[in-house]
Structure formats: structure tokens, C-alpha cells
């Protein structure tokens, strides 16, 4: 907690970790960040990233848990395997996908080979494809984890309730929203909070995959903050950018708190 508060205070000053005199500068650091076109591109990217990745993670995760909810041969094994992509660190995942998209060793080339194509350029080098690709990699890492987390709650719903809804002739979507969502509500809300919070702070995977490029196609605010601090040694810009991300997380957190209070009263 204390470093976080210090970090917030420091973002309004000329603080740096080398002991230069500290002056209060108000919102100057924030203004210089907000005027930087790289940062605005990063803010737009992270909004797209979060808005696309989180619903996909929740949807695919729920579908996986839904498929695995009943008894099935090898169910325990499947459950453990769901966790494996998440066990790869963001850095490790970045390294892995960097090579897997590279030619000659990669998956896209192998698949293309089967349909008679020869070489696929890495989508990470393409201005239009780079951001969707980083989203896909994030979904690959997190969606099975969501499935794993939802599974116990989904399994705990008695079979009869599904059967009743089926007898009523409710279509699949209605069965899901009426039978599964009420008991899973708080869990889903908390998972969504975690996914959104982590997505907003995304940077280590992107750092390895693209370094924010090509151009600013995959720049994220957290990566911007990292590069400002460790690339340009501009600690003021770094702190301000990081706290803009944190403000986003806190705003989402506030909505989450309101929603969970409301769902408890309902």
C-alpha cells in the first residue's frame, strides 16, 4: 500500500530515484503524457484489447466449463490441462509465440504447408494484424483458466435444474442465463474484475512479442510507462502514465464494488 501511495504522490512531482530535489509540479507530468500521441495510441489499443479479450475469455472459458461439467472419461486430466497455458509466464509465452509465428519452425507455416501454401509472414509484423494477434495470445493464456475457475461452481448446480429447463423447452442460451448465471454471479463478477484489471496492465507479453510495434500498433499504456522509466529514464512521465492505467483499474474497481453491492441486495 505505502509504495502505491508514494507512487501516486510522486507522479505529481519531479521525484526520481537518484535523489534530485523534489518540486511539486501539479498535473504537468500528466499533461505531457496525455499530449504524447504514442500514449493516446496506447490508450486506444488497450481499450480495444480489453473490450475484445475479456468477453472472449469469459465466453470461451464458460463454454469449456459447460462442456466439462458432466462426468466424462479423462475429466480430471482435462481439468488440469486447462491450467497449462496460464502456467506459461507472459514472458515465456511471448518468447514461445515469437518463434511459433516465425517461419520454418512455426504453426501457421505448418498448417499452410498442408494446403499448399509455402510461407506465412508473422502476423506480429503486420500493422493491422499485430493487435488482434496479441489479443488472441492473451485469450489463449486466460480463457482455459476461466474455464477451470468456473468448473466447480457449474458442477455444483444440480442436474435436475438443467433437466427442468430442458423439459420446459428453453433454448440453450436461455437455459444458460436462467440456470447457470444466478449461482455463478459473484464468481463471474470477481473473475471479470481480475481479467479487466490484468488486461489493462498488459505489458510483459507485448514487450517480448512486438515491443509495442510495428509503429505504435500494439503499444500499451503500461508498456509506455515501462519504456519511459527504463528506456528513456523519464521517471515523471512513467509515473504519470502508470497512474493513468491505475486510475482506469480503480474506476473499473469502483464499478465492480457497486455491482457486487447491488447484486447482493437483489
Amino acid at each position: 500500500m505505502v509504495p502505491a501511495v508514494l507512487g501516486l504522490l510522486a507522479s505529481f512531482t519531479t521525484y526520481d530515484p537518484f535523489g534530485s530535489p523534489i518540486r511539486f509540479v501539479g498535473f504537468a507530468n500528466y499533461l505531457s503524457v496525455l499530449r504524447d500521441p504514442t500514449f493516446t495510441a496506447a490508450a486506444r489499443n488497450i481499450a480495444v484489447f480489453t473490450l475484445v479479450a475479456v468477453p472472449l475469455e469469459l465466453g470461451i472459458g464458460f463454454a469449456l466449463a459447460y462442456l466439462l461439467r458432466g462426468p466424462m472419461p479423462g475429466r480430471e486430466l482435462c481439468r488440469v490441462l486447462l491450467l497449462v497455458p496460464w502456467l506459461v509466464s507472459p514472458i515465456g509465452g511471448g518468447v514461445m509465440w515469437h518463434f511459433l509465428f516465425g517461419s520454418a519452425t512455426g504453426i501457421p507455416d505448418y498448417i499452410a504447408g498442408w494446403i499448399g501454401q509455402t510461407e506465412v509472414p508473422s502476423p506480429l509484423g503486420d500493422v493491422r494484424l499485430a493487435l488482434p494477434t496479441t489479443v488472441a495470445i492473451e485469450v489463449w493464456r486466460m480463457a482455459p483458466l476461466v474455464g477451470f475457475l468456473l468448473l466447480p461452481g457449474l458442477t455444483a448446480i444440480p442436474r435436475e435444474r438443467w433437466d427442468l429447463a430442458t423439459l420446459d423447452g428453453a433454448p440453450l442460451m436461455r437455459r444458460v442465463t436462467e440456470v447457470a448465471l444466478p449461482p455463478l454471479g459473484p464468481l463471474l463478477l470477481a473473475i471479470t474484475m481480475l481479467l479487466v484489471g490484468f488486461a489493462l496492465g498488459t505489458f510483459d507479453a507485448v514487450l517480448i512479442l512486438t515491443g509495442g510495434g510495428p509503429g505504435t500498433a500494439t503499444e500499451t499504456p503500461a508498456l509506455y510507462s515501462y519504456q519511459a522509466a527504463f528506456g528513456a529514464n523519464d521517471w515523471h512521465r512513467s509515473g504519470a502514465a502508470a497512474w493513468l492505467v491505475a486510475a482506469g483499474v480503480l474506476a473499473i474497481g469502483f464499478i465492480y464494488l457497486r455491482l457486487s453491492q447491488a447484486s447482493r441486495r437483489a
Binding site: 509504495p3 469449456l64 481439468r79 488440469v80 490441462l81 519452425t105 459473484p186 464494488l257
Partner: protein, 276 residues
């Protein structure tokens, strides 16, 4: 009966397809690490290579301190996750059993804190650690890793404790038992699965942490993610089979841990979801 059998088969097929899709990148990496790579010059593509463990030895050549970094990662993640769980358990217990106004808000606030981006606090944190003369020390690494993961631990553990019936504790209170005795004798035994699940998840998080160990160390003490990111940010050459071997080694411990202890992990999901 036939219809439900058919449905079962479809379900099974979908699960298998999904797992293949999610796991093929990892299979690709494992195969490359033991010497097998696809050959796209033939039509249709084929696999070439023969079983070898040389790539694992090459990791130590490309990064001479790799094995020391592996040891640092393992030791710091074990110590940090254990420390966090021990320190968070009393806090979580206090929150779970408290009735003051706003305790719910406080406990859910910990979930929000858990997702705060690391860049927002690492620089003052590193300053603090330097003033304590703990830069590049194992103690500094463990303390910060555990501080960073503590909010998530408190949130999950208090959700899990809330599920437990309070009667035994109340009986012990009435008999005048001390708080620490209640915690150790009554709460810990029933909360043990949740504590183990939390420790396991925290271990994985600590194991994969990048920015915090990166800022706290100046190169003498490194964890695996820091070493891996160094390779790429300084653009040193690394062959794919060697990188694949390094990835395999860094993934193996967490996979083994999760495979062995997966039984308790349900508790983690329960802890996240039960806050009402």
C-alpha cells in the same frame, strides 16, 4: 438413452478439439526442445529430427547462470508464497469474521488492489528496498514478491474462511482461548485446503513475475522471467531449440506442482466467488 449417448460423444469430441487447439503451441515447444521440428519443404509437411537432449545442455551455454536463476526462482517463489499465506491468513480471518460497517467493501477492495498495475508502485518500492539495503538480496526479493501478491491472498482466503462454520471458534472464544491458539488449532486445520490452493496459485504468480524482480535487482540476482526478457531486450541470438528447452525447463516445475496438487485448487475458485 441413445440420444444422450450421442450428446456425450459430441461433448467429448468438442473438449478434445479445444484441448488440442490450446495445447498445440506447448506441444510444439516440447517437441522442439527434444529435437523434433516440422519440415515445410516437403509436401505435405513432415517432421524431422531425432531425439536429443543437447538443447537442454545448450541452455547452460547460452546463459551460463541459467541454473542459478532457476534455483533463485524456485527458492524465492516457495518462500514468498509461504510467507504471503502465513501473513494473510490472520488478516483474512479477521475480515471474514468481522461485522463492522463496510467490511465487505474492504475485502472486495483487496481484489481491486490485486490488479493494480505494477508500474504504479515499483519505482518507489525499489527506492524503499534500496534504503533498506536489500537490493540484489534474496530477502528483498522474497519480501517484495510476497507484498505484491498479498492482496489477492487476503481476498481469496477470507472468501474461503467465510464458508466455514464459526461455531467451534465461538466455543473456543467463550472458553477464553487466545487468538493465535484459535487460529492454529481450529481455523488452520479446516482452512488448510484453501491455504494450500492459495499458496499454489501464488507460487505460479511469483514464478512468472517479471517487473518486480526486474526492478529490485541489478543483474546479480535474477529470476527466470528476468533472464528471458534480458535475452530479448538486448537482442542476443538464441536458437529456437535452445529457447524451447529453456521454456520447457521453466514450465516443468509448475506443471508438476499443479498436476500433483490439483485436487485442492477447487478451493481457490470457491474463495474467489464466495463473498456474499
Amino acid at each position: 438413452m441413445r440420444a444422450s449417448f450421442k450428446l456425450q460423444a459430441i461433448r467429448f469430441a468438442l473438449v478434445v478439439i479445444a484441448l488440442i487447439a490450446f495445447l498445440s503451441p506447448i506441444a510444439w515447444t516440447l517437441l522442439a526442445s527434444v529435437g523434433f521440428q516440422p519440415d515445410n519443404n516437403t509436401s505435405p509437411p513432415s517432421w524431422k529430427g531425432s531425439l536429443t537432449f543437447e538443447n537442454f545442455a545448450d541452455v547452460g551455454i547460452a546463459e551460463p547462470s541459467f541454473w542459478a536463476e532457476l534455483a533463485t526462482s524456485a527458492a524465492s517463489a516457495v518462500c514468498a508464497s509461504a510467507l504471503t499465506v502465513c501473513a494473510s491468513l490472520p488478516a483474512a480471518y479477521g475480515l471474514a469474521r468481522s461485522r463492522f460497517h463496510g467490511h465487505r467493501l474492504l475485502s472486495q477492495g483487496f481484489l481491486v488492489l490485486a490488479t493494480l498495475p505494477a508500474m504504479a508502485y515499483v519505482i518507489p518500492l525499489s527506492d524503499l528496498i534500496r534504503r533498506l539495503h536489500l537490493v540484489d538480496t534474496f530477502v528483498g526479493l522474497v519480501l517484495t514478491e510476497s507484498a505484491v501478491t498479498a492482496p489477492l491472498a487476503i481476498y481469496v482466503l477470507q472468501g474461503a474462511i467465510r464458508q466455514l462454520a464459526p461455531e467451534w471458534e465461538e466455543a473456543a472464544w467463550l472458553e477464553g482461548a487466545a487468538l493465535w491458539r484459535i487460529l492454529i488449532r481450529i481455523v488452520l486445520p479446516v482452512a488448510a485446503p484453501a491455504a494450500a490452493a492459495t499458496a499454489l496459485i501464488l507460487f505460479v504468480l511469483d514464478w512468472n513475475l517479471l517487473i518486480v524482480p526486474l526492478v529490485l535487482t541489478s543483474g546479480e540476482l535474477k529470476t527466470l522471467p528476468v533472464a528471458m526478457s534480458d535475452f530479448f531486450t538486448f537482442e542476443r541470438e538464441l536458437e529456437w531449440p535452445t529457447a524451447a528447452a529453456a521454456l520447457t525447463i521453466s514450465l516443468a516445475p509448475v506443471v508438476v506442482l499443479v498436476a500433483v496438487f490439483h485436487g485442492v485448487l477447487d478451493q481457490f475458485a470457491t474463495g474467489i466467488g464466495s463473498h456474499d
